[in-house]
Amino acid sequence: MTFDFIEPVVFALLAIGVIAGGAAVVLLSRITAAALLMAFTFLSMAGMFVLLGAETLAAFQVLIYVGAITVLILYGVMFTKFSDRPRALFFQRQTPLAVVFVAAVAIPVALLSFSFTSASPRPGGGDLSALATSVFTDFAFPFEIASVLLLAAMVGAIVLTGRDDPEEAARRRRR
């Protein structure tokens, strides 16, 4: 007897975590709960990356999605005060249409994806050095572009949200 049964079990648990968390984000009316469950989805996804042998990406996933993006979104939730309202008002008017549309596309795709019947991906042996080599040789230019994009996003976010001079704001408040 070996540990072969563990991988499908872990996969099933992670899949349930991913899908339940994702569904909760869409269905829950409390936004803080949705944000926390989104973090849970991201963590389960990191577990799937580990299962696929991509530990480095899993670490980045947690570092970026759980450590930064979820916290940023929680900030957004806290700064935009959101009062309780009837449940129907959380959804758009075109909900039935959207559900029909998404289901029409989603069900064939989900069924189709099971046609990739090949056995499990090759076992991991650390993807770190291969990943780093790729990023810094073949993809060096896109990497630079990505860093410029991040810089632009940072400056843009500061410009969009930054108030004017603090003294100016204080003077306006006094008036």
Partner: protein, 103 residues
């Protein structure tokens, strides 16, 4: 007994369409942003799964996941900034009610 590739892709597809439905269905701008993140993440899972299965030794597929991370971070930073500055002008986060630009 191991997990077939199709299972990973199926989970990815289901999560992608959950996120898609969320973007179409919800009103709150912050929740829409969250659903977009879910969609990006689903794409990541598919990229990693295919890369581990079919990729050559140098992890070309996984590199794109790194770029998706970058884009997700930039997107959420700018998206939240836009939501916050819109909220400052008029305190609503419903995308239905942010229609000042409508002709």
């Amino acid at each position: 007994m191991t997990v077939p590739l199709g299972a990973y892709v199926a989970v990815s597809a289901v999560l992608f369409f959950i996120g898609c439905a969320g973007v179409l269905v919800r009103r709150n701008a912050v929740v829409i942003l969250m659903c977009v993140e879910l969609m990006l993440n689903a794409a990541n899972l598919a990229l990693v799964a295919f890369s581990r299965k079919y990729g050559s030794i140098d992890e070309r597929g996984s590199v794109f996941v790194v770029f998706v991370f970058v884009i997700a971070a930039a997107e959420v930073a700018v998206g939240l900034a836009i939501i916050l500055s819109a909220y400052r002008n008029r305190p609503v986060v419903d995308v239905d009610q942010i229609h000042q630009m409508k002709g």
